[in-house]
Point group: C2
Chain length 123, copies 2
DNA sequence: GTAACTAGTTTCCTTTAGGAAACTGCACTC
DNA sequence: GAGTGCAGTTTCCTAAAGGAAACTAGTTAC
């Protein structure tokens, strides 16, 4: 029987709420391209074809869909410049920067995990 | 033009590595049930049918697959007890607890994001 | 006039995730 | 010997994600 030590992870009740939060978070981050797009646009604003070149392998259909998705969730802003022909610039919003800690922890953990997996392969 | 302030997010080069890490992390966490299972087993070790009862809506096929997956990634441990008939107990490993920070940040952000979405619906 | 660039859209297809229902084999209980 | 619980497996199906290729419509440079 486990004794209730100082808990580092939430209690059962807190877990239910926590799970809901996590599912909501993963929902907006999931898919093959979202994080890559956010990171790319945090680096610098870009036009459609610039993104397409930078993110290798993404098709225009998927890119268009993902950009719409990200815009809906307020992670990026789409601005139409009245040049001739019009150019459209996508940029990361301040809101996308609220993901900073999440990105940091995911990256940290992912790195550690990959190293662990490699380690265990060697054996 | 943005000046380069003290950067809170990684530079372009760091981003490429970071992205890889994040993709690896999301890869092992993704799917509808993984986090729920980890959270449930962190609460207490459980048998197959106990989990099935606790995690509402999961089918035995999916549960078996997810448990195998989690075991492969060393998040949970499967122990066969030589009772008659044998009982099998699943429990969270210490390694699954390395997800603590990730879970914390995802939960935090998810909560904030949901509240923001609700807010923006009201308008 | 033709090639190229702008920002996408459309169509068709494959892969993957996930689910429902039935089934397995073993042991115990009544 | 019929039913119940254990820990799954098998089969069949649907929905969603993602991709390849072609296409749109406007403009500009050669």
């Amino acid at each position: 029987m486990k004794t209730l030590e100082k808990q580092e992870l939430p209690t059962k009740d807190e877990c239910a709420g926590s799970l809901r939060n996590i599912i909501d978070a993963l929902y907006v981050l999931n898919g093959k391209w979202k994080i890559a797009l956010i990171l790319s646009l945090i680096q610098s604003p870009k036009r459609f074809n610039e993104i397409k070149k930078e993110i290798e392998g993404i098709s225009p259909k998927i890119l268009a869909k993902e950009l719409k998705d990200l815009e809906l969730n307020d992670f990026i802003k789409r601005t139409v410049n009245p040049t001739i022909p019009v150019t459209i610039i996508y940029e990361a919003t301040d809101y996308s920067r609220t993901l900073k800690n999440v990105i940091y922890e995911l990256s940290n953990w992912g790195k550690m995990h990959r190293e662990k997996i490699k380690e265990s392969m060697r054996k």
